[in-house]
């Protein structure tokens, strides 16, 4: 299924760390405007799948198709032009579990400096864009603050603003609330919720099953390097896979 509204598709992705294969051939399509949720137990490979989508992990075999370009080792059947990882990454935003803000830049420069270097616009213009993005996540008054002066929730909101500044057509979230104190989870989910409502295509790896249920319209349950169950928005109510049901039951 590589219809015109498919943003990214993974085909037969296999990935090994040292001699251990952690992904055994993943097939996945993400459609424009959809909100894909990947969940499953620790070590199931969900983060690795997500990180493969912007090539932070290089698959050992298989193909990634994005905007009519093929990435990864590739498959003969794809018949697409090869793309450079940089081209893909400049169209895909990513939010990490540990925020990964740059500690030596203020909140606004965390957005402006990468933006200026990637797009070639002036630092001053990039800061103007940074101010707009910070305002969207409610952190404009903290523009001059350094990450060490912000709470975890605020840091993650800056990280989301930073990822959005490059105008991505796809946003990847790698357990964005797992490193947060429970009372700070809500503010980050609120930002993600409004992003989802704005129509952004999102792929989210998360343990927040209530949130997953709320925004997800494609659910992927992974275990031991395989996708073992998939479903639409109603997945949580009528899931037929035994393991997925058990997992959902234990987490919800």
């Amino acid at each position: 299924m590589t219809g015109s509204n498919t943003i990214i598709s993974l085909r037969q992705i296999k990935k090994s760390f040292a001699s251990t294969e952690v992904l055994h051939g993943i097939d996945l399509d993400v459609h424009a405007g959809s909100h894909t949720v990947i969940f499953g137990p620790s070590g199931s490979g969900k983060s690795t799948v997500l990180r493969t989508m912007n090539l932070l992990e290089k698959p050992n075999s298989g193909s990634i198709c994005f905007e009519n370009r093929e990435y990864g080792p590739g498959l003969d059947s794809a018949k697409l032009e090869r793309g450079k990882p940089l081209e893909l990454r400049r169209r895909v935003g990513m939010v990490f579990q540990q925020f990964n803000l740059f500690p030596h830049f203020s909140a606004i420069d965390n957005i402006a400096i990468p933006l200026a270097t990637v797009t070639g616009i002036s630092k001053s213009d990039a800061r103007e864009r940074g101010a707009i993005e910070l305002k969207k996540v409610g952190l404009l008054p903290w523009a001059a603050s350094y990450p060490s002066q912000l709470s975890g929730g605020q840091q993650q909101r800056v990280a989301i603003a930073r990822a959005l500044s490059i105008d991505p057509i796809l946003m990847l979230f790698d357990e964005p609330t797992s490193a947060l104190d429970p009372e700070l989870v809500g503010e980050v989910l609120a930002v993600m919720r409004s992003l989802a409502e704005s129509g952004m295509t999102m792929v989210v790896v998360t343990h927040e099953m209530n949130f997953a249920k709320e925004i997800g319209d494609q659910h992927i349950f992974m275990e031991a390097g395989n996708i073992v169950a998939t479903g639409d928005a109603n997945f949580f109510d009528n899931c037929e896979n035994e393991r997925a049901r058990q997992f959902i039951g234990s987490v919800l």
């Binding site: 912007n54 932070l56 990964n100 740059f102 270097t117 001059a144």
Partner: protein, 249 residues
């Protein structure tokens, strides 16, 4: 005339020869600062070689570091001044020999300082840069290097004090630094206590000054910083951010 040498301290010699002593200190500082900049550059190159994906560069760096870290400054400078002259068929000035000798030794130390500082940066920093579409070079320049430098600076400061002290061994090739100057004066008056006290105090004073300067660097690149230099250097940037905050809120 008093025959008891112990009480015949000619402290005025320090004042009489202040010009020569200060000139000697200046020579020590000039040689060591030149060597500092060269060592930082060469040390960084070897640190990057050590982290290269090519085994050849890693091996080269390991060999270089292990050899030159182990050579005493005295041996190094004699080797360069007398040995290299034979090897290259040209004579180095004492100044050049001093700079080369120090650079060989300290680039090895700085290589290790840079390597450990750069490796201390969490890999998430590099990944965040990659995810934003930054090139490897940009990531290194804007993200990894500034953070690594902050970790390295206190160690660079300590090393630089060591470099100044090591210039004292260059008296042996005739470089007119503090010890050579002191020796020359002492040979006329035989006042070792007075003159070497003066020499020691000069080294201590310069060590304090270097420490003060490097503390200043450190506070400037600490984030968030309250250093005066930091506030001065970033005043335009901070005004711009404030303007944007005001305009958008």
């Amino acid at each position: 005339m008093d025959n008891d040498l112990r009480i015949n301290f000619m402290w005025h010699l320090i004042w009489d020869y202040r010009g020569e002593l200060i000139q000697g200190l200046w020579t020590a500082v000039a040689v060591s600062i030149t060597a500092l900049f060269l060592s930082l550059f060469i040390g960084l190159v070897f640190a990057l070689a050590k982290m290269s994906r090519f085994a050849f560069f890693r091996g080269l760096s390991t060999i270089y570091v292990n050899i030159f870290r182990g050579i005493p400054a005295l041996v190094s400078v004699i080797w360069v001044y007398f040995g290299w002259s034979l090897l290259f068929g040209r004579n180095f000035t004492v100044y050049q020999a001093g700079v080369i000798a120090l650079t060989l030794l300290y680039s090895a130390f700085f290589s290790e300082i840079f390597r450990s500082a750069l490796q201390a940066i969490h890999k998430g920093q590099r990944e965040a840069g990659m995810a934003l579409g930054m090139t490897r070079i940009r990531i290194f320049r804007s993200i990894i290097m500034p953070q690594g430098l902050k970790i390295a600076i206190p160690n660079i400061g300590s090393m630089y004090i060591g470099m100044i002290k090591d210039t004292s061994t260059f008296a042996v090739i005739g470089l007119a630094e503090v010890v050579r100057v002191t020796q020359t004066i002492n040979s006329q008056y035989f006042q070792p206590f007075v003159l070497y006290t003066a020499a020691a105090l000069l080294y201590v004073a310069i060590a304090f000054l270097v420490d003060y300067i490097f503390k200043g660097f450190e506070s400037t690149i600490t984030y968030p910083s309250n250093g005066i230099l930091y506030r001065f250097l970033t005043r335009k940037k901070r005004a711009h951010i404030q303007k944007l905050v005001d305009a958008n809120s």
